[in-house]
Each structure stands twice: as structure tokens, then as C-alpha cells.
Symmetry: D3
Subunit: 313 residues, 6 copies
């Protein structure tokens, strides 16, 4: 298979052309590819301020800004790996369960070809059906979750499939290796006193004030030690970042991560066995002139660069 090549932004201006993720070609077939970016334009499992269904398009548009070579890793992504924009998964805004099944099917198909996925949500609920697909091919995975909320509720408004429950569902279904789960950046008010209890008991939950006190270098070292050689999934809820960095999300929480700290976490995956990732909860209608979509596009670039440098090493 030929190496897919992005549009060259030094020839075609970045505001031109049909928008795909990072100007990679649109290839709706994962055979022969190493990594695909997949849009999941679905936010019906969000319980409050919606809009994340519009994120894949907004991020595609602004990801044209991103260029091709990562200066710290010194890697040109599309040369190190075969990477493409897979397009969007089918969804029904009216039916969570059916959409989750469609998500699982599509991601299973992709992973069945040995291709890895970077999902662009959508709300955080989508991580559960993605993990169903990932675990089918990789077994129970380690998870690093950047987030202000643990998303380990049992139910919300009586529903089991929401953006507050994905890691509880994945846990119950045995998709996760609970010894190797790190939740980074947890903070903010709680519905009930015991909201964090389950996470504390089952996972390595790192509240944001711990990061403020210890510094990110130490925390990343802990993360790398915890994950070790396990296949690992990175789930980045954009509300893990501080609202100053990522205002465009349904439930921002003050006192969060800077973009630099989020980059440190992602760059900490060099050498780890990353098998999948997602960036979720970007909500263009909640945003300030799309700055959060721009930030998300650059974090997706950081993630893609890890896949590339890990392959290149």
C-alpha cells in the first residue's frame, strides 16, 4: 500500500479544500493503515450542555492549521506511519444503545486489520463502545484518562449509557485492567459525597490538587511505571484542561491542566504500547470562536506523533 500523503500546506493554503483531519486523505477502509482518525459526531449521552456532535467537523476544519512534523520527537507523522481520516461513524441522535453498537462494530472492523484508532468525539460516553472494540483485539487494556470527572457513575436519570458512566460500564464488562487505570486531573464539585469513592477504590485517581503540589514530571513518571508494558488506551476529556485553555466544553471545571501539562502527559506515552486514544467533549457551541477546537486539533497531533515515534523507534 502506498503511503497516504496529506495535502501540502505549502502548496494549498490551509483554509482551502474539503476539510479532513490534519489534511490527511479520507480513506474509509482501514486495511493497510497503521492509525486512523475517526469522527464520532454523537452527544446524546451528554446530560447537560450539548454540542459535541459538531466537534468532528469543527476540529477537521481547524486541524488544517497543524503541520506534519513534530519537532520534539523529530518525526514526520505520515512518513513514520500510514495514517488517514477514516470519516465518521454512523450515529442516530435518537438512540444511544444503537449508536454505541454501530461504534463498536466500526471500531472492531478497524482494529481487526491491525489498525489503531484515534477517536474524535462526541461526548465521553463513546469511550465505552470504543473500548468494547479495542478490548476484543487487545484484551483488557490499561487506561490513562485525562479528565476533571471520573465518569464512573452507575447511572444518570436512570440511564446506564451516558457520558457519566463509560468507565463503570467498561469496568463491569472486563474491558479494562483495573490495576492499570490512572485518572488525571480529577476535580470539581460532586453530586453526592461518595462520587469519588468507587474510583479511589478501583483506580489510581490523581486529583488535580495533587498535580498542582507534586508537579507533572513526577506524575508522568508514576504513570509510566503503572502502565509498564501493557496495551494502553488514552482518553482525553477536554474538560481535564483548565477553562482558560478549553472553554468550549459542556462542563468546564476551574483549577485544571494547562495545555503544556496535557502535552507532557501525551509525550509521556513515548515507548508505551498505545493501542487507541480519543479526544472528547469538545463542544463548539460552548466555545469562544473555536479556540477549543484548535487546541483539540493540536492535542490530536501530539497523540498521532506518539504513534509515529513509537513506530519509528
Amino acid at each position: 500500500m502506498e503511503q497516504p500523503r496529506p495535502v501540502d500546506s505549502m502548496v494549498y493554503p490551509r483554509h482551502s479544500g474539503i476539510a479532513t483531519f490534519m489534511r490527511y486523505p479520507h480513506i474509509p477502509d482501514a486495511r493497510g493503515l497503521d492509525v486512523v482518525l475517526v469522527g464520532v459526531p454523537f452527544d446524546t449521552s451528554a446530560g447537560y450542555r450539548v454540542g459535541a456532535r459538531l466537534a468532528p467537523r469543527a476540529i477537521r476544519h481547524h486541524s488544517s492549521q497543524v503541520r506534519l512534523h513534530h519537532p520534539v520527537h523529530d518525526v514526520t507523522i505520515h512518513e513514520a506511519i500510514r495514517i488517514a481520516d477514516y470519516g465518521d461513524v454512523r450515529t442516530s441522535p435518537f438512540d444511544i444503545a444503537r449508536t454505541y453498537d454501530w461504534i463498536t462494530e466500526e471500531f472492531e472492523r478497524i482494529h481487526s486489520f491491525g489498525c489503531k484508532t484515534i477517536a474524535v468525539g462526541g461526548d465521553h460516553g463513546i469511550t465505552y463502545p470504543i473500548l468494547r472494540a479495542v478490548a476484543k483485539h487487545h484484551g483488557p487494556v490499561a487506561v490513562v484518562q485525562i479528565d476533571s470527572h471520573t465518569d464512573t457513575h452507575d447511572a444518570q436519570f436512570g440511564s446506564k449509557l451516558t457520558h457519566a458512566t463509560p468507565f463503570r460500564r467498561a469496568h463491569e464488562a472486563g474491558l479494562i485492567d483495573p490495576k492499570k487505570v490512572m485518572q488525571l486531573g480529577i476535580r470539581g464539585s460532586l453530586f453526592y459525597p461518595d462520587d469519588l469513592k468507587w474510583s479511589k477504590e478501583h483506580y489510581r485517581m490523581v486529583p488535580m490538587h495533587e498535580i498542582h503540589r507534586r508537579g507533572m514530571d513526577e506524575v508522568v513518571a508514576d504513570m509510566r511505571a503503572l502502565i509498564g508494558a501493557a496495551p494502553v488506551y488514552l482518553s482525553l476529556d477536554i474538560d481535564g484542561l483548565d477553562p482558560s485553555c478549553a472553554p468550549g466544553t459542556g462542563v468546564p471545571e476551574i483549577g485544571g491542566l494547562s495545555t503544556w501539562q496535557a502535552m507532557q502527559v501525551i509525550q509521556g506515552f513515548v515507548g508505551l504500547r498505545l493501542v487507541g486514544a480519543d479526544v472528547v467533549e469538545v463542544s463548539p457551541p460552548c466555545d469562544a470562536n473555536d479556540i477549543t477546537s484548535i487546541v483539540a486539533a493540536q492535542l490530536l497531533f501530539e497523540i498521532a506523533a506518539v504513534f509515529a515515534v513509537n513506530k519509528a523507534r
Copy 2:
């Protein structure tokens, strides 16, 4: 029962105080009331650009602008009728069917006391569960629908309960007197060639170009003749208005009604047996600095004034 009184905007500035519809008192009990405004903050049955769940709050805020007396009808609404802000219906953003049941229950309770309702959506799907409640007390009702779309599809993405289907569902359930349905302002592109067929066969469908050609006076005269003495429900989808007047909606369609034309339709209800109404599909995230919420608040005032003047006559 004492006559509920709104906050006096000549004493308390309009930007102050907890926001209720038109500054009427919040009374979550319909007994003794003539008309209540009810928020239905639900948009999960919208299939494209969401946000109408935020409309009741946005409209409450901007409805403070509205004053108390209607100069054309020469009626002070809260003196002619006992009217209040009932609050919002319970909803689950994850469950359309359950939410529709909650809507029906709450509206049944209200109508069971002889109180009439002005619903503030929410997406257009909510009209179906409201009509279930209205028809229970008033029998099959005449309907005047201001809209760019007929909303008489059978299903969308395989779902029967969506904002594209309320009048089909209501029709099937016998909640509507099909001989007395007028759809005003229909226009815009169609998914399939036969999209309008059902409406044309069953209802008096007035496409927008007919209104442009004949003028609104004639059309309103037709409407009054068609409805006659029947109990009638007015459903105003804000996308019936032209995008210049109401940009803040999920699916605006060019070539639509001016606010003046919408006012003409509403004022045409004087003397008719209006038993309920709604204003739906206002979407604050799609709006331009809340102008559509302001317009909607004033249309709600026009509707409330009709209830008042009809009672006062």
C-alpha cells in the same frame, strides 16, 4: 384565588430578579389559574443542530423585556386572566419516550384543572405529548401550525418519536381533527419528493409562496373560516419565520414569515377557541446574541394576549 401579579418593571429594573416568564410569579400548581407558561427544556428529539433545551431559560431571561398591556387588544394580560410561570416539566435528555410521558402527565394535570397551557420548547417533538394531554380534555383539536416544515414524517433514523414526526403521531392517535389543520409557511428543500404529499392529502397546507402571493390578510381569513368554533391548538415553530427574523433555530429556511406576519396570524385568533399553544425550536446556541429568544418572548406575549382578550370579551 388572588390574581397573580407580575413584578412591576417600573419598580424593579427588568434585568433584576430571578427570571420567570414575563416576570409572572412561579406557581407550580395550576389550580385556579387560567393559563400557565410551561418550559419544556428538551431537544433530544431534534436530529441535527441541538440547543433548544436551553430555550426556556433564555426566553425567561429576555421575556423580562415584555411589558404587561397589549395596545392593539387594549388588554392588561394579568388582569384579564390568572396567568403564571408553571416552571419546567421533568425531562431526561437520554430518553425520548419517557420524557414524552412525563410531558403528557404534567400537561394533563394542568388541563385537568381547566387551565390552558403555553408551552415553551424544546424541539417540535414535544407537541405530540402535549396534544395527548390537550386532546384528553378537549377532544381532537383543530391545529394551526406556523412552520417551514410539515413535521409529518413517519420516522427518522428508524425512530418514531422525533421533531420531524409529531403531527403524524398525533394524527394516528386521533388527537387532531384533520379537517381543521392549517400549516402555514411551509417551504424549503425536501428529503424525498413525496415529503409534502401526506400533508397535502390530509391538511390545508399553505406553502410560503402562496402567502407571498396572496398576502396574509386573506390567509388569516381562510384560517378563521377553517377553524370556526372548534377548540384549536396553535403550534409555532420559530423556523416558520424568516432567518432574518429568527436565526437562532436548528434548521432555518429562507423566504419565510416576517415577525409582522406571525403577529397577524396570532392576532387572528381573537374570538377563536384557543385551548393551548407552543413556541418551539428556539435554539440559543444557534442564535445571534439571543435575538431569537427576544422575538420568541414577544410572540409568547402575543399569544398570552389572545387568551386574555378572548376571556375579556
Copy 3:
């Protein structure tokens, strides 16, 4: 005195340079000038949504768009009259009475040189102190008011000097010839049933529905007949326009004038003895990406063109 010349937009792009009204030179001295544009950046007499204090700057910025020659009147404004940007009147956001005095003083000084004024508000309260100055030089004047509200209240929150009272105050002070006042476009809900009574008794109040019914040509003919040869002041509250045309104002009212209708009124002043004018209640923070400031700039151009063509005839 040399004829002041605006910046030539065919030489210096319209987005460049320090922004003055229509790129006319800034001349803070009215001697020898025919007409000046004067900013009145004051909105403390607005009782609800403020922001009009920012209008003079926003309108200056966008008035660069306006060019120099009026094609219908066939007049190049700055050649027909000596016109300039006078700058802004001194104001204190904390003190209405004192600011009104400063306004009167500054406008008296300008009119004392035989120069006429186009004021750019600011809230509508400023028309009262301007009329104090205008009447001093021209005697009680005829007034044409384009507005959705009559602004003839006696007081608001116990205050006599507010944007709801200027024409009452001016009337009491004998600044207006009550037989020659026309209020155009009046509409919208009322605080109390008698809000319009005073206007109806004293003035020619033309409610908006009358304009919708009769058409603007007839109404303008009425206006010209009423004003005759009297010195006349034109006060244009931007909320006289429909919210679709002018969303950026504190209290928009649906069912209003189109920009074309407003232009018809202004062009109807050709041959009348126009001695002063204002455009008020543009509120940039309430606006949608400054479109109302753009509209206001073009209406100011229409007004300036009337001064020019009347002089040129």
C-alpha cells in the same frame, strides 16, 4: 474656511487610519462648519440593557465603509456642505443631570455658530438636552421621531431624566411645537394601559400597524404636510427598526420598520428645514457582530445627505 475633506477610501483602505465619522476630519470647533457629527457616549439614562455608550466608537469604525456621494440625491456631501467629526461631548457615567448640562452647553456652542448637528448616541435620554440647545437657537421645533416607544413617560424609578422621558421633558420645557410632532413606528407592549394616552393627545402618533396598512409613501406625505416650513428635528431611535434590521439595541420590538422604510422617511426630509438630528440606542454589546452599527452608519449618511441636498438645492 477651506472645505474639509474626508480621507479618500480609494487611496487609504477603509480599515486604516484613526476612525472618525465617515472619515471626515476631526474638527472640535464648529465655526465655519455647516454640519457636525457629535458623539454622545452616554447610556446611564437607559434603564435596562446598556451599552449605547460604546456606540459612537463602533459607528465611527464602521462608518468608514460609507462612501461620499449619494446616488439618489446626486450629491457629494462634503462638497455641498462643510461637515466634520466634532468629537464626543464630555460625560460622566455617574451623573445624568450634569452630563445633560454638558451636552446642552456643547450643542449650544455649536449651534451658536449657525452649525447644525447630527448627534450619535448614546441612549435616547440625550435628545432632551440636545433639544434645549437646538430650541435656544431655533425656537420650539417640529419633531419627527422614528421609534418603537413614545418616550413620553413622566418618570422611571422615580427619576425624571431617563431614556423613557425625553419628549415629556422637552414638551414641558417648551422646546417642541406640539402641533408638529410625528412619532413613527410606535408599537410593542406597554407598562400600563395609559402609556400611549399622552402621546395620542398631544402628538401625531403613527403606530406601526398603521404604517403596515397604509404604506410608507402615504405616511411620509402626511409627515411633510404636518411639518411644512417649520424648523424640524429628526430623532431616530434605532429600535424603530425591526429587530431583523437592528438587533443591537436595548429593547428591540418585533414588527418594525425595514431599513428601506427608514430611508424613505429620511429622504422625505428633502426640502424641509432640518435643523438637527440624532441616531440613538445603538448598543454594540447587544449587537450581532456590529451589523447595527453598520446600519446606523448608513442611516447617518442618509441624514447627512439630506443636509447636503437641501443646501445644494
Copy 4:
């Protein structure tokens, strides 16, 4: 060749998938196609407020709203004609002349296959290089221009290739049949007294006040009579519409066309020999939450429907 089919919005929600014009497939090869939509993301020939380079993407995104069947013409576009999204022309934001050459080359290639074009600008300057290509295949064409400005200046800031000059350049190059040019909606202030002279002498220039006075039905009848059987190009500058309908443009002018009037003009092309069209000067950064891109998408649908119904007849 197989009939290209758009994404079915009743299967894939309209906010999902990579955005192409009206969800038609992206086919960068005109062979076998009847009509293509072509993006021209270029605004360097705009002299004031830029941003139109972002319009093709914004319009692609919002054109997902548009459905497939036109109810008035009763035609399903993609069944009547083979139509696709061709993608964007190559541009250099730094070089007007070179970009114009690229535009001409690309449009020549398309028309060389007998395929017609609907260009999505971009500023109005692009019409000149498009007409170079169109005239090569069709000879000098009739032109209907919907616009507030004539765009027949000779130069701007000393440059001959700008958005104020395309029809002058096309005229000089003999690309236009001057007897069959109609300019509709012209209005607004002029740089110099003679700005309209050239247009009046050479073309049928219909100022906006004439349309207000005579009504659009008469004007469209004139247009059809003037064009007759000639091959005709439709150039729709979005600022021909009133700012209430299309605020998102660099130089809006009050007193303009309603969307309904623009639709009347476009629908007036049924039976005419339409060989090309464009919609230009949509500027997302000047817009109010993308409403102008939505309006433009629907006008593009109207234009595409004319191609379809003309073929289908």
C-alpha cells in the same frame, strides 16, 4: 457514468461526515458530470473587510442542512443531473494574478468537458477569471448580477484585479455580451459621483429603489426578455441581499433584497440557458453565527435546482 448520489440525511445525520457541498460526493474530475460546485477560497482581491476565503468551508458545513428535492420545481437535483463537489481551486493568498490564472485554467478544464459550474467564492474578483473560462466555451455571455455594487470600477489602489473591477475587466476582454447584462439591486453610497455612469451607459442597471417601486415580478419579466435565448451567467454577490438577510459580508448595504426576492430572480432562470453561476462575498468572520453561510447554501440549492429543472424539462 453512474449517477453520483449524495449522502442520505435520513440515514446519516446532517452534522456527521466530512462536509461537502450539499453532501454530494467529492469528484475532482468533471468528465461525465453536468454541473459541479467549485470552491474558490480566495479573498485577496477584497479591499476592505476580508474573510471570504473561509466561505467555501463554512458553506460546505451548513449546506448539509439542504435536502435533495425542490418542491416548487418538483425536481430531485441529483437525479435530474449528475452533480458533485469538485473541491477547491488552487490559490495563493499572496498573488492575485497567478490565482486568477489558476482559476481560469481549472474552470476551463471543467467546461471543456461540457460540465457547468457553480462557483462558491471568495470575493467578487473571482468572477472575472471564471468568465474567461466560461466565455472560451460559450462565447460572450449574458450576465445577471445580483449585487449592491456594480463592480465596474477601472482600478482600486492602482490595481486592476480587485473585487471592484471584475465586470470592467470581463467587458474589456469581450467575455460579456453588453446588451444582455442586467445588474439587480444596485444601491448604496458612491466613492465618486460617476461611479454608476459606466454601468448605466453599458448595461441594464436596475437600482434597488426601482425594484422597491415596481416589484420583483416585473423586474424578472424584464430580465427574461433581455436574456432571451443567450447563454447566461448568474453572479450573485451576497451583499445584493439586505443586511438583515445576509449580515456576513464585507460591505453590506441597507435597503436591499429579501431572500424571497433573490429566490424569485433565481427561479426566473427556468427555461433560460444558464451556463454558469457563482455566489460570492460571504464572509464568515463578518457573520452572525453563520446565518449568511446557511442562506448562501440555500441559494446555491436554488441555483442547482434551476440547472436540474432545465435539464429535466
Copy 5:
């Protein structure tokens, strides 16, 4: 008295219902309550960019996001203290002195029942009339002021009651214990060289560069030592935060506090005798899609949690 309970956001979605502060019940009577949140929708004492009059409503709306339990203090606020939304104080936008009197009266009434207050401004001027009420019940209080400006001017535009003077007025009136005043985060350009002199002489003024150099832990320790056992009032001007965190304010100043640093200060009040607090100068019209209102809501939660944990200890 029964313990007031907020709406349960796990039953009623957070976007639903009439908006009160943190969904606490609206109780306009302080008897039996420990703490009330009080809106003060007044910004006439702001001298530049206004809009803070709209903050109580915007913050009420977005405070629905906040949940009930504080994870660091491990306290459920509404169980530890009886807390409610008191509603808004009466104001007149036209009269600063009279409004200040109304504020003092209302806050005196509240404090007379032993209830403490968290005021939601409004501009910073309101702190003076609040302190008049607080000092009446608690004697001269210690003050911690988070702010970029000292607000200790003597007058502005000749007026003594403005948002630049509250602490000077309070000082003169003996409402403050000057030995126990700490001003945190002071920075930005000065009108005149001596602007800071008064503060430096009378208070412990901590400029922002000192915080950058020493770190917040040390500064908070200083603060706790300074305040000791005195009754203390916390006044948080949102412009104490960096513009990246709180863009929505009239006069943002670069180089300011992060939200995390503000949280550190607030959490430093555990064990202190907090008798009142305010959050002021949030200006929705100056904001970027309401992010500053969201931040303010979460800071109000932090303050309420201090009242709760101090009571609970």
C-alpha cells in the same frame, strides 16, 4: 426550620427549571438561614465598560452546573448550613446613592437575623453599602480583597460613590479594621503616580509580582496570620484573575491570578471568621460565551463551601 434543599441535578437536568444560585430554593426571608446568596444587579457605579448588572442572572443560569459536595473539604454544603437564593436587591440604574441605601437596608435586614451573605454583583461599588450593613452587626471587619485595582480612589469624575472608591468610603466610615486589610493581586497601569500610595500606607497591599515571586502558599499563610480571629469579609473582584481565566470583566489586567490561585486563597479561609463575601465585576457583555460566569459560579461554590466547612467543624 427545615433544611432548604437544592434541586437534585441527578433527577432534574441542570439546564432545566427556573435558574437560582446553585439551584438552591428562592427564599426571600433570611430568618433561620445561615447564609444567603444575594444578587445585586447594579453597575451604574462602573465608569467604563458596563454590563455587570446582568451578572446575577448569568451566574444563576450557569451555577446550575455546580454540584453540592466539596471533595477537598468533604462537605455537602446544604447539609452543613441552611443556605438559599435570597433573590436580588432593589436597584435604580439611575441613582447610585439611593441604590446603595437600598443595598444597605436589605443586607442589614439579612444580617439582623444572624444570617451571612454572599453578594453577587454588580460592580465593585456595591461592597461599600454591603460593608455598612456588615459592620453594623459585626463591627469594623478585616477585609481580604482579591483584585487588580485597589479601589481606594477618593473620587471619579467628581463622584464619591463609584466602583473605584468603595474601600476609601468604607475606611472613612470606620467599617474596616485597617490593620487587617489585605489586597491581593494588585497590578496594572495607574492613572496617576500616587494611586497606590494610600493603599500602601494603610493596608497590606500585595502586588501581583510579589505573588509571582513568593508563591501563593506563603501569601496565604501571611493572610491567615494577619486576619487571625477577626471577623473577616472577602471581596473578590473577578479582575483579580488573569484575563485568560476571566475575560468577561470591564477592566481586565494581564499577569493576574489563575483560578487555582484564587481557589487557594478562598480555601485559606477555613477556620477564619468569615462574615460575608462578594464576587463582583463579572460582565456578561464583555465575556466570551459566558466562561467568566461559569468561573464565578464555581468560585461562589468555593466560598459557600468555606461557610459550610467552618460551621461543620
Copy 6:
């Protein structure tokens, strides 16, 4: 020459008056002045998202917020130096080379009088023609560039004069002392692997991660050692700041400088021989309610203060 005095914001409110930089008088003649602020409203050399042509006006408007005295340097700028708003340079949006020539001519004229310049861009391309003028009077200068991009490309889309090439052009022309160039804050993805090579070979390029690791104090000390007694030019691309601090720019890059860090760099120029400066790439259409223009205005104040304190010492 009399000392030019700014408008006193304690007399004339900051939202009033014709907007000039920091309310300094508009003096289009540099004779006798020490420093002028010069607008360069030009963005045609920007290759992606434009809008910087609107920055001089937006920054003028918001710079009214800035006061006159710098508390850290303890200097009142307009008393220490004669400083004014020079107005804008002539530009043609259609012609980069010609505009660059105009820029050079105008800046030469200014520097020929011994006056120094603070340019307000405009895109970064303008630094090259400014350096042509500066170097003519001061010889090859040292340069400190705060930026996320090195802007040392050789060409873009085949053009040599773009915002990606100014320092390459200046270098080739011998305008810069290459031993004394420091680039601060470089980061972000690269078009090609060697994008940074040239900078690394020729300049002291300090990538952002180095600043994160070493701290700004050390880096500023390096800078001062490198520059020494050389005449130095400061070029501040606003995208050197983190997107949280400066979202309003064409190509924001995550992980950047805080405003505090940018202030540290600028304050590090005390005692250095600063001969010119610019702030570029602020793009109001990309901004979030003008916060970046506010930030830029305050950074311009910091720069002006350095000129003042250096003169005053």
C-alpha cells in the same frame, strides 16, 4: 516642543472620544517626538486566517483602558518621553511589495528625526520593511523575537514576501546582527523537518520547552547578556503567547507563554538600547470578544514604559 499629553481618563471616560493609541494625541509628524505608535493595518502577507488589518483600530479602541503610570518602573510615560499616535501607514491590500515600500519610507522618515517606533501590526511580514528603515539609521540591529514560529522560511506559495519570511529577508539584507538574535517561545508542528534548522544555525533559538524547564528569569538573563549594548529591536508576535492568553491570532500554538512571562521579557529590556518594537498578528476576527486586543494594548504599554524608563534613568 510641548510635551504631548494624553486625554485624562479621570476627566473623560475611557469609552469616549476618538480612539487613539493609549489616548495619546494624534501627531502625524515625528519631529521632536521620542517615540511614536504607528498602525500598520496590513495582513495580505498572512497565508491562512487573516484579520490583522483590523488590529490597529481594535487596539486603539481598547488601549483607552490603559492608564499612564507604570507602577513597577515608577514612570509616567508621557512625562518621561514625548510620545504620540502617529496614525497608520498607507497600505494597499492588493500589493505586498508596494506596501512594504510605503512602510519602509514612512518608518525611515520617522527614524530620520531620531524618533523611535512601536509598530502595531498587521501580520508579521511588516517587520521586514520596518527593519529596513530601522537598520538604515541604527545599522544592523540585535533582535529579540517573541513568537511561536521562527518566520525564517525562504518562501511560501512561491512568494518571498510573506509573514513566514521576514527574518530571512532581513537577514539576507544585512539588517540584523545574527550573533545577537534571540527567538523566544518557538514551538508547534513543522511543515517540513528542517524548518528550524536555519534558525538553530544562525540564531539563539529558545524553544518553549526550554523556557518551561529553565524558567523565565534565567532566559531573560541570557537575553540581556546576548544583547549587551547593541541597538535592539523587539518583535512580539502575539502567537508567542499561549492561546489561553491570546486566542485572537491566525495560528495559535498550545503550550506557550503566559502574559506574565511576556511581561518579564519586556521588563528585561530596561537598560538595553531599544530602538524599535512591534506587536503583530493580533486578529480581531479570530478573537474572543476582543480580549487579545486588550492584552496587546497592555503589552504595548509595557513596551512604551521601557522606552520611558530607559530615557528617565
